[in-house]
Amino acid sequence: MHIAVCIKQVPDTKNVRIDPDTHTLVRQGVESIINPFDLFAVEGALKIKDESGARVTVMTMGPPQAEEALREVLSRGVDEAVLLSDRAFAGSDTWATSMTLSAAIRKLGDVDLIFCGKQAIDGDTAQVGPELATLLDIPYATFVKKIEKLDDQNLKVTRQTDDGVEVWKLPTPALITVIKEMGEPRLPSLRHKMRAKKAQIPVWGIADLGLDANDVGLCGSFTQVVRVFSPPRRSDQILITGSIEEQVEQLFSYLKEAKVPGV
């Protein structure tokens, strides 16, 4: 079985904010990390590899430095990596990203299963997985926490919904987006770290993927950002002091005033 995992390098979002004086996105000192949901995806793929000897390829669309993220993933046991990088890809929305990834998956050729993280913690859209599956015309399931083999053609996936849990039959080739319960990401191993250091990672650009400038990047995107601003600060922050009894009374009356259900 050949499994492809799509990952994204994202800014460590806890430090991303708008500078209150200049109203610009502060990028200084914000380091890049691998999107946490993608690490769960990598772990899910590696578990299948442990059990049944599948081959796992990781790919990412990003600037040249996204290569570090690929090596980091290789050091955990993934077999191959490919970097999709080209100036033309910059500014992609989820559609353009999915276009690019789908071209890469087609170029890889024999992919049976694609793992994606549920969402990226910078964009928070959770759209790329489903859009990619649609462009490849393969079935998909989202918010998967467990995946098992049902038979030679089908997988059994367990997914989390707002109301509980559902079990789906998914024929391969297929795509899944995964959540944290898919697995605690394993640490790198020394052998894999050494292999990752030496690994040759091909870089595929727009021509390698057979794409047109109008398909990708800002030009290929349907949505564009017209405004970026700081979320409104919470006004009226109140610190409730006093004895326990006083604090209880105060809080209760505030919540009652605010018509909080249940109070």
Binding site: K180, F222, P231, G262, V263
Partner: protein
């Protein structure tokens, strides 16, 4: 692709450099450089009083004649035989937009053995038209069946705007709809409006909620957005009139690739985080797993859910399905009570959209107090039982 500076008009005043949210403009001694960081957001264009900056034409759209697309559609979510309240919230928001644009508002209801009363309910929440699509294969949600039926409907009727709830159903299938139609989709919007040019302005949090972004889809149709539940206000328009239309599904629409084998509804109401209006959440400050019982008691009293920080989950005190935060669930209830929880940023990004945040912590320097509406510096083991007593007392 980036903004272009007309050197003949540019006076090198430098104002544009200061307003670019992506730090893409560098104003030098004799020229203004725009780097590849430019995302064509247009802030500089608006700001330049000399009209020296302009945006290039965005790439070709799907070649659709935009004028053919009219009306606003809302996907009404049918779950467990009823219309989920997010549909009412969507109709409330969409009603305003439809009135602003003077167009029709339609609700699309997909399901099986649909009660006509459901359609009436949608009309009374603002829908001018309700399209009813009743089919056995829509009895149980699968992303393919729902998406392919909706795509087919959209191709036939051509709405200009489509809205859906950012629920687990919406987030699962709406991206397939957008990709199939080759149009843009914005996820999890918290604000919707119409621009001067008549475009849908889709505002949503990004970077975990640390930044807000407003997005448009100038060329793709329909303009699509999923909307965060519990943010928009439903409207009760009991006098409102509308019509119901049953829609036949096109032959061969169903791919029948995925199949639902089993549905296991969550029995523990306190685990239904995304549905809850009230969430009482606990962190490491609880000290031991047994102390979650205190939070469970209050949650049950208030018919809410119990949340947890990553720390509490990693200690094994409560199941991961209760985790709120960056790698857990994002919630936006009416009341979020953070008890014995320090409020590390990875947790806060998962709940800062809550309407009212109450923090109970004995450490006055805990970062949770920075986002709390009401902060209570107290020993949770004294405060919580007393608060529970008060709630019970007031019930009598």
């Amino acid at each position: 692709m980036k903004a272009v500076v007309d050197v003949k008009k540019c006076t090198i005043c430098g104002v544009c450099e200061g307003v670019c949210p992506f730090a893409a403009i560098t104003v030098g001694e004799s020229s203004v450089e725009i780097s590849d960081e430019c995302t064509l957001c247009g802030m500089c264009v608006d700001t330049c009083e000399f009209g020296a900056i302009s945006l290039p034409e965005i790439g070709t759209g799907p070649g659709a004649d935009l004028a053919e697309y009219n009306g606003i559609w809302v996907f009404a979510e049918w779950r467990a035989g009823a219309v989920h309240r997010v549909s009412h919230e969507l109709l409330g928001a969409a009603r305003r937009l439809a009135d602003k644009k003077a167009v029709e508002l339609s609700a699309i209801l997909l399901g099986h053995q649909l009660d006509k009363g459901l359609a009436t309910d949608l009309i009374m929440h603002g829908a001018d038209i309700v399209y009813l699509v009743d089919h056995p294969q829509l009895g149980q949600f699968t992303n393919e069946a729902y998406a392919d039926v909706l795509v087919d409907l959209i191709r036939r009727k051509r709405p200009e705007i489509l809205l859906a709830g950012a629920t687990s159903i919406g987030r699962s299938f709406i991206p397939r709809v957008a990709a199939s139609l080759k149009t843009g989709l914005t996820a999890d919007c918290t604000e919707l409006d119409i621009s001067e040019e008549g475009l849908l302005l889709q505002t949503r949090p990004a970077f975990g909620g640390n930044v807000m972004a407003t997005i448009v889809c100038p060329h793709g149709r329909p303009q699509m957005a999923t909307v965060r539940p519990k943010v928009m206000k439903p409207l009760k328009l009991s006098e409102h009139q509308g019509r119901v239309e049953s829609v036949e599904i096109t032959e061969g629409i169903f791919r029948n690739r995925v199949q639902v084998l089993e549905i296991i509804p969550e029995q523990d109401q306190t685990a239904k985080l995304t549905e809850a209006d009230i969430i009482i959440s606990g962190g490491r400050g609880l000290g031991r797993p047994e102390n979650f019982a205190i939070l469970e008691e209050l949650a049950r009293l208030m018919k809410g859910a119990v949340g947890a920080s990553r720390g509490a989950v990693e200690e094994g005190w409560i199941a991961p399905s209760h985790q709120v935060g960056q790698t857990g669930r994002t919630v936006a209830p009416t009341l979020y009570m953070a008890v014995g929880l320090s409020g590390a940023i990875q947790h806060v990004v998962g709940m800062q959209g809550s309407k009212i945040i109450v923090a109970v912590n004995k450490d006055p320097h805990a970062p949770i107090f920075d986002v709390a509406t009401y902060g209570v510096v107290a020993d949770l083991f004294e405060f919580m039982p007393a608060f529970i007593r008060k709630v019970k007392q007031e019930r009598e």
